[in-house]
């Protein structure tokens, strides 16, 4: 890598190349969809972990925490063996489609959401749960309120999952196949361009990726984290 590739990278960004746009769109599409799925399923589970006792909870929590580190290639392998033509769900023909990537990335994001939501909420005041119970809230209402009180933890969990998923390359590559115009994402493209020795596009894509991540984070942080004193009745 040298100065020339950096300049070329900036040129690509300024011109906003059509292919760059398509790749960025794919990355966002897959990451947002999968994070959303993981958040919808994972947040309630995290709340459950934090405020309910059940047998073997300790082990289940530790297991979930471990699954946070689920290697992308393992998830790739797993989902591959399900969706492959020779696998049980082969008939759906989902292999190497956007859907396959989204499924894989959701699997990746789920334990992150669950574990971080749990971790954050478990540190809330133990009297919160008692207060909600004594005020006669239903289970759903309690969960909603707990999430609201622990919103920093929840948002940060979801953002972490998004960051992980948008930046991962293993499942996107194994399940999407890095097909141009179709399943190619920023990270698989970077991997490809690096393979080719074409660092300019890699750098441009890297910059886009970081910008996306920064933008999303700053926006959400601003919206949710830094408005504690909402004083309207």
């Amino acid at each position: 890598m040298n100065l020339a590739s950096l300049i070329e990278a900036l040129r690509l960004l300024v011109v906003w190349d059509r292919e760059l746009a398509a790749i960025t769109f794919n990355s966002l599409h897959f990451a947002i969809a999968s994070t959303l799925i993981a958040a919808l399923i994972g947040t309630p589970i995290g709340v459950l972990f934090a405020f309910r006792e059940f047998p073997a909870k300790r082990s289940v929590v530790a297991a979930t925490h471990t699954l946070m580190g689920l290697p992308t290639v393992v998830v790739g392998l797993l989902v591959f063996s399900l969706l492959s033509r020779s696998g049980p769900l082969g008939g759906l023909g989902l292999m190497f489609t956007p859907t396959a990537v989204i499924i894989g990335q959701a699997v990746l994001a789920l334990p992150i959401v669950v574990s971080l939501v749990y971790g954050g909420l478990a540190r809330l005041d133990p009297e919160l749960a008692e207060t909600l119970q004594t005020l006669g809230a239903t289970r759903l209402q309690r969960s909603v309120k707990i999430v609201r009180e622990g919103r920093i933890a929840v948002v940060s969990a979801i953002l972490t999952a998004f960051g992980r998923v948008v930046g991962e390359v293993g499942t996107a590559m194994m399940l999407g196949g890095n097909i141009r115009w179709y399943t190619r994402t920023i990270t698989t493209a970077i991997a490809l361009e690096t393979q080719k020795g074409a660092f300019a596009l890699s750098v441009a894509l890297g910059i886009v990726l970081m910008t996306v991540a920064f933008g999303v984070n700053f926006g959400l942080n601003y919206l949710i984290r830094f408005r504690p004193g909402n004083r309207t009745i």
Partner: protein
């Protein structure tokens, strides 16, 4: 009147409190209560040393802890507990107090009205828009009370509601609690503030090391009369006799006669003691340690302890007539 709360054979220990804790009370449960009932319209106050189990008992009554044995029955809907260190939601005071109503989907207008009314009851109407975590210690406590009041619960449990609260607000809180009882609701609270306990309680239940002690006695309701004299006061027991008490300015509603200072005699002997009432023995109960507990009806119920020997000498039986004598200074006003 049916009991609002009934509790029988209750046993409770914290699960992982380890042996270091248990050592304190031997091998027995941390909390062990044979029986306790609270009536509707009654204010019951738990008092006792730190760590005697007041908070634990209240949490059991609120259903927040599950007893190891025995039964806890709350009639007329669940009991609502205001914690010793209340948790306020990270939102405005108004939103905190309105929340229990909002989750019950009450109309917006009702929510507003009841919330503001509750805030006014605890004197926080000025702070409705404030962000709850920024309140001062006592303001937090009062906000939590308002958040409970807004639901108008049939059984209200309060864990040291007046600690951290200033005198004026204590009066306001006491007014509110008395009003709750007058509306037919039960109030059970713990406190270390004895004056407040005497002023409020229909029944004072002392606790010690996880056990209930005999309820406090000789608490007389009424009002102070214009002293007339500089150094002696008079207290009119409601529906009962006037008694002499220390001179005191201001209005008091409660007189407590120290049990140990009451002298029983068969004849009306002349002493310097100002209070001399005639009454009938209603009950004699021999207790451990050579002492007996005698309950006398002399217009108002008074309880005294005497030795077993005195019981024999005075021939104390249910129905016996006798004289009850105590000094004005044996009376405390609240």
């Amino acid at each position: 009147m049916s009991p609002a709360i009934e509790l029988h054979g209750l046993r409770f220990s914290y699960p992982d409190s380890g042996n270091a804790d248990q050592a304190q009370f031997g091998d027995q449960a941390l909390l062990q209560i044979e029986s306790l009932t609270a009536q509707a319209s009654e204010i019951m106050v738990l008092i006792g040393d730190n760590g005697c189990g007041k908070t634990t008992l209240l949490k059991l009554l609120a259903g927040l802890l599950i007893p190891d044995g025995g039964s806890v029955g709350v009639h007329n809907g669940p009991a609502l507990l205001v914690h010793q260190r209340p948790y306020l939601f990270a939102e405005s005071v108004y939103a905190n107090v309105a929340w229990p109503l909002r989750i019950r989907r009450l109309p917006r207008h009702d929510v507003r009205q009841r919330t503001l009314a509750a805030l006014e009851q605890v004197g926080l109407e000025q702070l409705a828009r404030r962000w709850a975590p920024s309140l001062s210690g006592g303001e937090k406590q009062r906000a939590a009370i308002a958040r409970a009041l807004v639901l108008q619960p049939q059984v209200l449990l309060l864990d040291e509601p007046t600690s951290n609260i200033d005198a004026a607000s204590i009066a306001a809180v006491e007014r509110v609690l008395r009003w709750q009882a007058e509306c037919g609701r039960s109030v059970i609270m713990s406190t270390h503030n004895l004056p407040s306990a005497y002023r409020l309680a229909d029944r004072i239940v002392p606790m010690k090391e996880g056990r209930l002690r005999p309820v406090a006695v000789n608490i007389l309701r009424g009002w102070t009369l214009d002293p007339g004299d500089e150094h002696i006061g008079r207290f009119q027991v409601s529906g009962g006799p006037q008694i002499f008490c220390p001179a005191a300015r201001g209005q008091y509603t409660t007189a407590v006669v120290r049990m140990d200072d009451i002298i029983l005699s068969a004849e009306a002997t002349v002493t310097s003691a100002q209070n001399r009432l005639q009454g009938d023995v209603r009950a004699v109960e021999l207790t451990a340690g050579e002492l007996a507990r005698v309950e006398i009806d002399c217009g108002c119920r008074l309880v005294s302890t005497v030795t077993h020997r005195s019981v024999d000498q005075l021939r104390l039986r249910t129905g016996s007539r006798l004289w009850v004598t105590f000094k004005a200074s044996a009376v405390e006003l609240y």
